[in-house]
Amino acid sequence: MTTSDNGDLGAIIAAHKDRDGPLLPILQAVQEAFGCVSEAARREIAHALNLSRAEVHGVASFYHDFTAAPRERPVVKICRAEACQARGVEALMPAAERAAEGRAVLEPVYCLGLCGIGPAAMVGTRVHARLDEARLAALIAEA
């Protein structure tokens, strides 16, 4: 994290510091602003909230959406849980992997709440259901 980022980080911390349970909102805002919650940011957040670095690291590493470094490629989260398996997601994976090669990262997730209309996937904040090979590949190509 560069020094110029520190100003923004400080502003994010200041904006949430005094609310109940400030850690998660800060982590979310930092991830959103910087694309990651870097080691340096974790240190600064811990200091500002009077928490140990282990505590901040524990929370940040528990949630997969907080990353230590910015992601280089777009992420497509594909539900691999039971209902989506029953609705055939595994059969779509070879085509999905071909579509993702060199351009996107496929991440398994376990239930997007769309069990009745799977296979389901999520790109950014958007969810997509009733996926077949072609639609999933198109999603990955546009991610």
Binding site: L114, I117, A129
Partner: protein, 120 residues
């Protein structure tokens, strides 16, 4: 009469935003509402209490012209809904998802339970 289209995750994941945009482009008054919870029917479009299931933008002109090709009848009487005993999301709230404008007539209809007070 507004065209009611859910904006919950299952509706949006199956293309409800495009359907809503198509209705709006056709001049319809679109209200984005909460879902009835029938994921398999989404995008579920409700016109005058009548549901139209799995609607795509290509169906919009037909529905506005009165087509019943995708119609499933009154949504509140769908067996999945009619057989439920709703305790928290009580029938008196169907299918209200936001408070009516001040002074507006109560939009209560469908399976409202007699004698139940609507709380608002």
């Amino acid at each position: 009469m507004p065209v009611r289209i859910s904006d919950d995750a299952s509706a949006r994941a199956t293309g409800a935003d495009d359907v809503a945009a198509a209705f709006a482009a056709a001049g319809a008054d679109v209200a984005r509402v909460s879902s009835w919870g029938m994921q398999w029917l989404e995008p579920l479009v409700e016109v005058d209490g009548i549901g139209h299931a799995n609607v795509t933008p290509a169906d919009v002109a037909d529905i506005l012209a009165g087509s019943t090709r995708l119609a499933i009848g009154p949504v509140a009487e769908h067996p999945f809904i009619a057989r439920q005993q709703r305790l928290t999301f009580a029938p008196s709230r169907w299918p209200i998802s936001r408070p009516p404008a001040a002074g507006a007539a109560s939009p209560r209809r469908g399976g409202s339970a007699p004698g139940r007070r609507s709380r608002r």
